[in-house]
Symmetry: C2
Subunit: 251 residues, 2 copies
């Protein structure tokens, strides 16, 4: 069924790149074929192409991506206005409150960090632009899901593997939906150690000049020094000030 304007070969190649995930730096042809759901012959040609273009290395047995592959993602970060516009504000905010600050957008069920100013590390995972977290248990995720409206948010939650990262993680759709309503009303979201023990965070939406919510802004802090109850008191105003300052320059 030739869709006319859909290039199956290209799509398969992209799947091959995505086959290289978290814990799989080096993959054999069959591994890739399995991970991407492709025929081994097809996977092989994609990999050899990547290798010839310098996007992958091949030692005769395993393929591994090269740093050149970063060009693809970096095309977005350097081309899109959002990361560039918010970075200076993020730096200032982070220095002001002495905690890490980040901006992220929604991609399906995950939030994607597009800019970040990190203070001392409090999380076990290392976040950077391009990093992803499940939306349902991240403060920015809650804000962005709330912005979608009831129905769309529920659709996304239904697609999500709701797994408890800590004993505090909320994993029931009804509970999460109620939480989203609260977030929508109060205009911010607070996460108390739902993603990682010892970590609290608070997020507000970033709206563009026309009032559309296009991203979220947050501050994360160690629960030991800033209990969840104090997050709003300490950080809500600075966050809202930055959001207000950014509004006119965002599109």
């Amino acid at each position: 069924m030739p869709d006319g304007d859909f290039l199956g070969g290209f799509a398969k190649g992209l799947k091959v790149i995505e086959a290289f995930g978290e814990n799989t730096p080096k993959l054999a042809i069959s591994d890739v074929a399995k991970a991407a759901g492709l025929d081994r012959a097809t996977a092989r040609r994609c990999l050899l192409t990547l290798s010839q273009l310098g996007y992958a290395d091949y030692d005769g047995k395993f393929f591994a991506l090269t740093p050149k592959i970063l060009r693809l993602g970096h095309a977005y970060l350097s081309a899109t206005p959002l990361p560039q516009l918010v970075q200076p504000c993020l730096d200032k905010l982070s220095a002001e409150v002495g905690q890490s600050a980040s901006v992220s957008v929604l991609d399906a069920t995950e939030i994607v960090y597009v800019a970040r100013a990190s203070q001392r590390r409090v999380m076990s995972i290392n976040l950077m632009p391009g990093s992803r977290l499940p939306a349902y248990c991240a403060s920015m995720g809650r804000v962005l899901l709330a912005a979608l409206g009831e129905e769309d948010a529920r659709t996304i939650l239904n697609q999500t593997m709701l797994k408890p990262f800590t004993p505090h993680t909320k994993t029931e759709i009804s509970v999460l939906m109620k939480e989203l309503t609260v977030v929508r009303l109060q205009g911010f979201a607070i996460i108390d150690q739902e993603l990682e023990l010892g970590l609290c965070s608070i997020a507000v939406p970033l709206t563009n000049g026309r009032g559309k919510i296009i991203a979220a802004l947050n501050i994360g802090a160690p629960a030991a020094s800033v209990p969840a109850g104090e997050m709003a008191g300490r950080y809500l105003k600075p966050l809202q000030a930055v959001a207000a300052a950014l509004r006119p320059i965002l599109y």
Copy 2:
């Protein structure tokens, strides 16, 4: 001429993604075709495919990449051991000396940041994992070029657009080659405002367990607070300590 194992279509698709560069967040079909050197019909099919897969947005006139495209590059950062292994050391180093520290690798004529711990911002450009700088005028670039050996380094310099970013930038191949010899002998490189006025940096190579240089590690500091002459005295030992600590765990 069917190369047997090379997928032209896939290669073209990747070129289309790379067409979205620095100052071109939104591109029309013809723009992409021109930038990537493709037929308009081909560019159009690639773009529509990207759009159908969710990697790009199409408003009927312009295409723009979506955050989903970051999955491609992030596959590398999260899959490759190097960034993960060095990040903790980088954080410690950065906190210790109170300056930004980074690790990068070489990709053709450019260095690519694979990990970074940033202190207050001193550069006008915002560096993050995936960012690129020309190798010839960056301290880590000098280290990595020196590691290549005379001949390969010269080849790369010949491919490079040697442009003076500041009055201090060295742009003559003979001068640069001599500089590389010095770097090779002394085991580190210092850049004094060659990339940006007011910025000095010092870099050392990172070797793996078998003695091969696989990356470079640097510290950048404002020239105002740390003149170039003091860079080595202050930062060389900490850098070398980190490099030595990393050696056994790098492969």
